[in-house]
């Protein structure tokens, strides 16, 4: 076949793809007979109301000397690892605010960090395109340098996000600026599967975030600069199971809903959205009202029941708390006492849902918990 015939086939195929996408979009719109907010109002759900001291900042973790970019909780034992522009990972005891480890990184330009399920290793990645693994039982030298246990090399772009597969210390998933996600075997340092890529069906721009399902660790969601989120099955890497459209800007952050059947997203278009993974429906859009410019969403987290959606935004120190059922903002952590002084870049909920940790460009992390009414026993 000649090049000109190929180009003609290319044009015909492109038109067919566009027509099919339009048909799919129209069919989906017909199935969107309501959203979560309209349904909940019809059901008479009561709104969530916070008093002045119901949600308080009860810990400020100070120690980083640069912007905090990422944080992660251990599944238990209440420890947090954070990554910062200062080129360090710090491991905190979240209850006592004390630092148990401060790891100087070989490459200071770190973007993401994660705790292993057993809490004994931490992973990080960034502009060096490598995901580095550190064992917390290794001895640090006087400069705080801990030897790298394993380097997961192979991405051809920055590592934007990493997460260990739940209950599997030997596997983690990374997302990258090279438009792919990779499932790694940490013990060998080799790629198990690559999701997407140049000639595979996957994201068509940088992938910025991943979230693995807690109820089915074979599934994970990725969010990308191509404005889509995609559901992947680690057992079948050749193509995404489903692609979720709707956002009009980069999808910066994705997080599974506590039931494992839905997930939330945050985007440069200023909205958070809730999607259903089985049907592909967009169930709700969370958009702040106002005539101002859309402020990008940097990070999100769900509360234990899923009733609350915490969303950090790229302006000042705003962190809106959304009532996910009624689609309303019920609180702004940025307006509370002791709030951050700069943008909130990362959020994480503790495993038991009793505390939220926020990381900020003001170099601090803060822990928020229910203050409420206390009585002396």
């Amino acid at each position: 076949m000649s090049v000109s015939e190929l180009k003609e086939r290319h044009a015909v195929a492109t038109e067919t793809v566009n027509n099919l996408r339009d048909r799919l979009k129209q069919r989906r719109l017909q199935l969107l007979d309501t959203d979560v907010a309209k349904y909940s109002v019809a059901q008479g759900r009561s709104p969530v109301k916070f008093g002045a001291t119901d949600l308080v900042c009860c810990r400020t973790l100070q120690g980083h000397t640069g912007k905090v970019y990422s944080l992660d909780w251990t599944p238990e034992r209440n420890r947090i690892v954070s990554a910062s522009q200062d080129g360090r990972l710090i491991v905190w005891n979240a209850l006592t605010s004390q630092k148990t480890h401060a790891i100087k990184l070989p490459c200071a330009w770190v973007m993401t960090c994660a705790f292993s399920p057993n809490g004994q290793t931490v992973a990080c990645g960034g502009l060096d395109s490598v995901c580095s693994i550190f064992s917390l039982s290794s001895t640090a030298d006087k400069d705080g340098t801990v030897p790298v246990s394993r380097m997961l090399s192979g991405h051809r772009g920055y590592v934007s996000c990493c997460q260990y597969v739940p209950n599997e210390d030997a596997h983690l998933i990374t997302s990258s600026g090279d438009q792919t996600c990779v499932l790694w075997d940490v013990t060998t340092g080799l790629k198990t599967s690559v999701f997407g890529g140049e000639f595979q069906s996957g994201h068509t721009a940088d992938v910025l975030s991943v979230s693995i399902s807690g109820s089915n660790p074979n599934w994970f969601i990725s969010g990308s600069c191509d404005t889509t989120a995609r559901l992947w099955d680690t057992r079948a890497a050749s193509r995404a199971v489903r692609t979720f459209h709707g956002h009009e800007g980069d999808v910066n952050t994705v997080k599974f809903f506590p039931d494992g059947q839905r997930f939330g997203t945050g985007s440069d278009d200023g909205t958070c959205r809730l999607y259903d993974i089985r049907t592909g429906h967009q169930l709700q859009v969370y958009q702040p009202q106002g005539d101002g410019e859309n402020v990008p969403v940097t990070s999100i987290a769900f509360s234990a029941s899923g009733r609350l959606l915490f969303a950090g935004y790229a302006n000042n120190n705003a962190c809106y708390v959304w009532d996910t059922l009624l689609g309303e903002i019920v609180l702004d952590l940025g307006e509370l006492q002791d709030s951050h002084k700069n943008r909130i870049s990362c959020l994480g909920m503790s495993a038991d849902g009793s505390a939220l940790c926020t990381g900020s460009w003001d170099s601090n992390l803060k822990i928020w918990a229910f203050g409420g009414h206390r009585r002396v026993i």
Partner: protein, 233 residues
């Protein structure tokens, strides 16, 4: 003045340029290179067409799938039912019925404190409340404050802000002296300016920066080891 190259298809040989310049024939001009088939471009185009045709298959499959999909209202009901059925430590209405719970540990380690300003240091099985947060200590030496054995429970701490170890004077320590920076010895100098950072990293390739549609190259270190993607990172 060097003689210009006159080799054009081997036609010219032996004649000097001055002879050519004086002849009535037009000056030679290089021929365009022969047209080689662009095999790489053709294969790449074929691969793109294959990808599009595969995408067509996926989309047709998706359209078939969606014929049997339930409407969004059923999914909304599932969301609502799940939220209502599960307790949430952070929601006020549910907290009033729980006097004790795991969330207490964030405030008082499970024992009453005199005021909201109190913080607890929980060390193994014992907790005690203090008006100030315990400092980071190594034995009896604490970073930035005094420390009694009853108020701290530190397993291992270090003064993270003191990074210029070679400096005899703590004022010489700059928090921006990271591993990638050189830290000249300050033994003979007692000024904080003696601790300087310089970038030892020499990048042969450019970083592709997140959220930017351009590449940032090299480590631009004037005063500090700055991030090469400093515009948006």
């Amino acid at each position: 003045m060097s003689a210009p190259s006159c080799s054009v298809g081997g036609e010219v040989g032996g004649e000097t340029c001055s002879a050519l310049a004086n002849s009535s024939l037009p000056p030679p001009c290089p021929k365009s290179p022969p047209e080689y088939p662009d095999l790489y471009g053709k294969r790449r185009e074929a691969a793109r067409v294959q990808m599009l045709e595969r995408e067509i298959g996926f989309l047709e499959g998706e359209i078939k799938f969606i014929q049997g999909v339930q409407p969004a209202s059923r999914c909304c009901k599932e969301v609502s039912d799940f939220v209502v059925a599960n307790s949430d430590p952070l929601i006020p209405a549910q907290q009033k019925s729980q006097r004790h719970g795991r969330f207490w540990k964030w405030l008082c380690c499970g024992i009453p404190c005199l005021s909201l300003a109190s913080f607890c240091c929980c060390c193994r099985s014992e907790c005690s409340c203090h008006l100030k947060k315990p400092k980071c200590c190594i034995g009896s030496k604490c970073c930035g404050g005094s420390c009694s054995s009853n108020s701290c429970c530190c397993s291992s701490c270090s003064c993270f802000r003191c990074c210029c170890r070679s400096c005899p004077d703590l004022s010489c320590c700059m928090p921006t002296c990271f591993r990638s920076c050189t830290r000249p010895s300050c033994l003979n100098k007692k000024k904080s300016s003696c601790c300087r950072c310089s970038c030892k990293i020499r990048l042969s390739s450019c970083f592709r920066c997140p959220k930017l549609r351009l590449r940032c190259c090299f480590c631009n270190c004037k005063n500090l080891c700055s991030n090469p993607c400093c515009l948006a990172f």
